[in-house]
C-alpha cells in the first residue's frame, strides 16, 4: 500500500459520519409479504406498486377489501394505511374542534426558537401552537377552520393515518414536492410514540387533509373545503 493510500485510509477513519440509525425493524415492518414460490417479474412489479404509492398526480384507489400500507415517496413522517373497515375511534374523538391536541399557544418568535426547523407561517397569522410530542417539535396554526401542522419529517412514521374504503387518496405535488390529499370520508389520525406504538389517547377523526413535503418539513393542512383551497393555502406559506 502506498503512502497516499495509507493517508486515505486514515482520512476515512477520521470522517465525521453519524452512526447508522436502527432502521432494520422499521424496514421489516413495512416489507410487503412475498410468497415463497418465485414470481414472474410482472407480478413482482404489481406487488411493488401495491405496496408503494407513486407520485403521479393521479387518484390511487387501493382495493377496499385489503389492508395496504401506502408509502408516499418523499413524504416523511407519515404512514398511511388503507383498511377494509375503519376502526371505531375512542369516545371523544371527532372531527375538528374537539381535542385537536395541537399543544399550547405560543408567539411566532418563540415558536421559531422552540423547534428544530424554521416554521412556514400562514399570511396574517400572529400566534402558533407548540407541542413536543414528536422529535424536533410540532408547530400548528389555526387559520379560521383550517388547521396547519408542521414537523420535521423523519424516516420513522410519527403520524399514522388510517383510511377506510370510502376515503379518497390523491397524489399531488405542491411546489414540485410530493404530497397527498385525503378526502371524501373521514380518516383516523393516530400519533405514534417513540417506540412506534399508537398513543391511544390521541386518536381522532380528520377530514380533507393535504400532506406535503417542503424542504424536509412535513406539512399537514386539515379542514380546507376543497383541494384547490388547501393548495392555495399551502403555496401561501412562507
Amino acid at each position: 500500500m502506498t503512502e497516499l493510500e495509507q493517508r486515505l485510509n486514515a482520512l476515512g477513519a477520521a470522517l465525521e459520519v453519524p452512526p447508522a440509525p436502527a432502521l432494520v425493524p422499521t424496514v421489516l415492518a413495512q416489507l410487503p409479504a412475498r410468497r415463497r414460490r418465485r414470481r414472474p417479474a410482472r407480478r413482482t412489479l404489481a406487488l411493488a406498486l401495491a405496496a408503494t404509492l407513486l407520485v403521479a398526480g393521479a387518484a390511487m384507489a387501493a382495493p377496499p377489501t385489503r389492508h395496504f400500507v401506502l408509502r408516499i415517496l418523499g413524504l416523511r413522517g407519515v404512514q398511511i394505511e388503507r383498511v377494509p373497515r375503519l376502526p371505531t375511534p375512542p369516545a371523544g374523538a371527532g372531527t375538528q374542534g374537539l381535542r385537536l391536541g395541537i399543544g399550547r399557544p405560543i408567539s411566532l418568535a418563540a415558536a421559531a426558537r422552540a423547534v428544530t426547523f424554521t416554521p412556514l407561517i400562514p399570511p396574517g397569522t400572529r400566534a402558533a401552537y407548540l407541542a413536543h410530542d414528536v422529535t424536533g417539535g410540532r408547530i400548528s396554526f389555526l387559520v379560521g377552520p383550517v388547521l396547519i401542522t408542521e414537523f420535521r419529517g423523519t424516516a420513522v412514521p410519527l403520524i399514522l393515518k388510517v383510511l377506510g374504503p370510502r376515503a379518497k387518496l390523491t397524489s399531488v405535488r405542491v411546489n414540485g414536492s410530493p404530497g397527498a390529499y385525503l378526502s371524501r370520508a373521514p380518516h383516523e389520525v393516530l400519533f405514534l410514540g417513540r417506540n412506534g406504538q399508537v398513543e391511544t389517547d390521541r386518536v381522532r377523526l380528520a377530514r380533507n387533509v393535504l400532506l406535503f413535503d417542503r424542504r424536509g418539513l412535513t406539512v399537514r393542512i386539515e379542514g380546507a373545503r376543497t383541494l384547490a383551497q388547501a393548495l392555495a393555502l399551502a403555496r401561501s406559506l412562507h
Binding site: T2, G12, A13, A20, R76
Partner: protein
C-alpha cells in the same frame, strides 16, 4: 499488521477489510437464499450486517443525515423487492450500497446540492496509531496529522465525483476492488484503472497545493 480502531464510527475502518471465512460466506449465502424465498427474518439479518455501510455511503453522497437515512431505508425496501432477481452467489453488501448510492444521488439532486461527496472531519478522531509504543501521539503530532487530513480531504473534494466515488468506495467504505465494481456498476478492470487515475489526479492536486 497496522490496526486502527475508530470508536466513534460503526463501520470497520477502510484498511481493515476482513476476508470472510468460508463459514461466514456460506452463512450469508444461506441468508440470501432464505431471503430470496421470502424469509423476512433472514432478510433482516442481512440488513443488520450491511445497512451501516449502506448508510455511510448514502451519507457521503447525499450530504445530509436525514436524506441518507431516507435513502438507506428506501434502498433496503427496494432490495427486498428485487431479491428474486438477485444472484444467490453474489455478495449482498455492495449491491445494497449501490442501491443506497443511487437513492442518495436522487435526493441530492432533488435538494439541488452539488454533485460532490460530503467529507467532514471529526474534531478529535480516535487515535489508532501503533508505533513503537501505544501511547497517544503528542499534541504536535496530532496537529500535524489533522492538518494533513484537512489538506487531503480538500484535495479529494476537488476531484470529479467519479474519482471521489471510487476513492470513497475503496478507502472510506472499506470495499474491496470486486465490491467497488459492484457498488459503482463498473467492470473490475475499470475500477482498477479508474482508481489508478484517480490517485494520480489526487497526488497532482496535493503537489499543486504543496502537500
Amino acid at each position: 499488521m497496522r490496526r486502527r480502531r475508530c470508536m466513534r464510527l460503526e463501520v470497520v475502518p477502510a484498511q481493515v477489510t476482513p476476508t470472510p471465512s468460508i463459514s461466514a460466506q456460506s452463512e450469508e449465502q444461506t441468508l440470501i437464499a432464505a431471503a430470496k424465498a421470502g424469509d423476512q427474518r433472514a432478510y433482516g439479518q442481512l440488513l443488520e450486517r450491511h445497512h451501516a455501510v449502506a448508510f455511510r455511503a448514502a451519507y457521503l453522497v447525499a450530504g445530509s443525515a436525514a436524506d441518507a437515512e431516507d435513502a438507506t431505508q428506501e434502498a433496503c425496501m427496494k432490495a427486498w423487492l428485487a431479491m428474486s432477481r438477485f444472484r444467490p452467489d453474489a455478495p449482498f453488501r455492495p449491491w445494497l450500497v449501490r442501491i443506497a448510492i443511487n437513492e442518495a444521488r436522487n435526493r441530492r439532486r432533488g435538494a439541488g446540492r452539488r454533485a460532490t461527496l460530503l467529507l467532514r472531519l471529526q474534531e478529535h478522531p480516535a487515535h489508532g496509531h501503533t508505533g513503537a509504543s501505544d501511547s497517544a501521539p503528542s499534541a504536535e503530532a496530532e496537529a500535524v496529522a489533522a492538518a494533513d487530513r484537512a489538506q487531503l480531504s480538500a484535495a479529494v473534494g476537488r476531484l470529479r465525483e467519479d474519482d471521489q466515488l471510487v476513492i470513497a468506495a475503496r478507502y472510506f467504505l472499506g470495499l474491496s476492488e470486486a465490491e467497488t465494481a459492484i457498488a459503482l456498476g463498473l467492470r473490475r478492470g475499470t475500477v482498477k484503472s479508474r482508481l489508478s487515475r484517480s490517485l494520480a489526479r489526487l497526488q497532482a492536486q496535493l503537489e499543486e497545493g504543496g502537500a
